[in-house]
Amino acid sequence: MGTRLDRPFLILVGKRLLAIPLSLIVVATFAFGLVALIPGDPAVHILGQFASDEELARLRGELGLTRPFLVRYLAFMGQLAQGDLGTSFFSRRPVLEEIGRYLPATIELVVLSMIGAVLIGLVVGGIGAYYRGRWQDRIASGSITLFQSVPDFLLALLLIFFLFFLLGVVPPPVGRLGFGAATPPAVTGMLLIDSLIAGDFDTFRRAAAASVMPVLALSIVYSAYIGKISRTTVSAALQSDQALYARACGLSEWRVFTYALLQARTPILTYGAILFGSLIGGAAIIETVFAWRGVGEWALQSMLKLDMPAIQGFIVVAGGITLLLYLLLDILVLLLDPRIRLR
């Protein structure tokens, strides 16, 4: 590929980096606005329906809910600038700490699921693209539509039935490790990595087995999106002049296909990054089904309990991770596509 880390490249990356704090402010404002404008009353959720009015009023004051909107907004942004995401209404612990506790589980799940989704999606989409219009394509396209139509929790339950109940090849869906297993010393918070670092292969196997069903469910459902974009872009590349010319030069079909894949990689990568970002929160239901204790499940519970700081904190963190992902994607695209920079 050659080194292209030259000045125009650095300037473009610099511009993107500068845009991040601004975008974060927008995300944080949106998070605050969304939550602060809701009509629900968190005090009722915390103390219950039968609490007296004085108790409710006192709690609201404690939680800072009685201050004017602008004051609350500025306090929120001020805290954020210092890296403080506030304190959860329920657990009374810093939101940042809670997120830090639950995030690694989600990251582990999301990374594995994305790998699965890309593998499945590329294969199915590639088959559909190569055999476009013929029966292999019908099966491929049909599969893509099927995967897209299945709600992830339904697929998860079906997998539980087939893999756990019928075939018994996976452990019961009771969390990342199941019962009675000790967690390895936390280095990254991700079980698979930590157990490898500690040399604990037994725990590694347990964690891996426990992740089969949730990862499979998410991979299959999300592979539909990758499959769709792959099929479209690779198919277009295969009908292009380049493909015709390559064949006319006597290149093998496999070579023609990989060339097409090369031409199609930018949209596929872009889509992959978007999916990754949306999976941080999008895996919430799967996390709930499998008692995964991930950040999505936690955010869901926080929403149902009207735990405002928690919800705000989650939106900011999820938004921040997504912005980071888009930055990485931009850098990758700049590196890969020569047309964008060499002008």
Binding site: L34, S149, L157, S278, A318
Partner: protein
């Protein structure tokens, strides 16, 4: 319905005659349409074998049989009746949400076509919005505005407005740049007239396709919401809630409690997707 407006070699038709026939021509598509209609209305039209919200006496967790075609669940509800009843809640909800989001999104999108610069900025904002997992957003909206049915419709409408806006804007922009709009402007047609006479008829096809797609996605969102117990109060029937009540039984082998409502969701979504694809192919140019 008017036939076509020919202009300098570029043919633009207003909505063509018998578009219903064009859309529903193929037998498979027709079957899909019929299925959705049946699932949505069976509750009111056909007498159901059992009362969907009254548990039967002493017959819980029965596998499918002649008495109970889909079996019964933990509380003794007959699943066949309940599945059909759930259809008459979920599908109209999805359609209502879709309609509302189209009603808001399409005019906004058309408006943004005439505005240009401001439209670009708004689109960027909407892009960021789109990347957010929509189910989570729907949960947030319903949880935060109150656990009621109307808010489910509202949530679906909100999360889908950007899609319609973006779609209409994209189509509208490409038409706006076309020759015959240029010609129309030269003879002094107002933007209102251009919108309604030239742009709107041409975006109708994509709107219909997108609506079907949105409806399909909304079914999934509604199922997810009721799976989490949001926007629904027992003993109301909803596919997601039915799946939830049978969830723990999957690990113990009573597959029918989850499978039938699950199949209903799957078939409905697949049918709506197929309709969307047919609309895309036959109506959108």
């Amino acid at each position: 319905m008017s036939a076509g407006v020919q202009n300098a070699g570029m043919q633009v038709s207003a909505v063509q005659p018998s578009w219903i026939r064009r859309l529903l021509g193929a037998p498979l598509i027709l079957a899909a349409f019929v299925l959705v209609v049946v699932l949505a209305t069976a509750h009111w039209i056909v007498p159901l074998p059992y009362n969907p919200i009254m548990p039967g006496a002493g017959s819980s967790l029965q596998p499918p049989s002649l008495e109970h075609w889909f079996g019964t669940d933990r509380f003794g509800f007959d699943l066949f009746s309940r599945t059909l009843a759930a259809g008459s809640r979920d599908i109209p909800l999805a359609l209502a949400g879709t309609l509302l989001s189209a009603a808001i999104g399409v005019p906004l999108g058309l408006l943004s076509v005439t505005r240009g610069r401001a439209g670009e900025l708004i689109m960027r904002g909407l892009d960021a919005f789109q990347a957010f997992p929509l189910v989570v957003l729907a949960v947030a909206i319903v949880a935060l505005t109150g656990n009621r049915l109307e808010n489910v419709v509202l949530a679906i409408a909100i999360i889908n407005v950007p899609r319609f806006m973006r779609l209409v804007r994209a189509q509208g922009l490409s038409i706006r740049e076309s020759r015959f709009v240029e010609a129309a402007r030269t003879y002094g047609a107002s933007w209102m007239r251009i919108l309604s006479y030239h742009i709107l008829p041409n975006v109708t096809g994509v709107i219909i396709a997108q609506s079907s797609l949105t409806a399909a996605h909304s079914i999934v969102v509604i199922a997810a919401l009721s799976f989490l117990g949001i926007g629904i109060s027992p003993p109301q029937a909803s596919w997601g809630a039915m799946i939830q009540s049978g969830a723990q039984n999957m690990a113990t082998g009573q597959w029918w409690v989850v499978l039938f409502p699950g199949l209903a969701v799957l078939l409905t979504v697949a049918s709506l997707n197929a309709l969307a694809e047919a609309a895309d192919r036959r109506l959108a140019q």
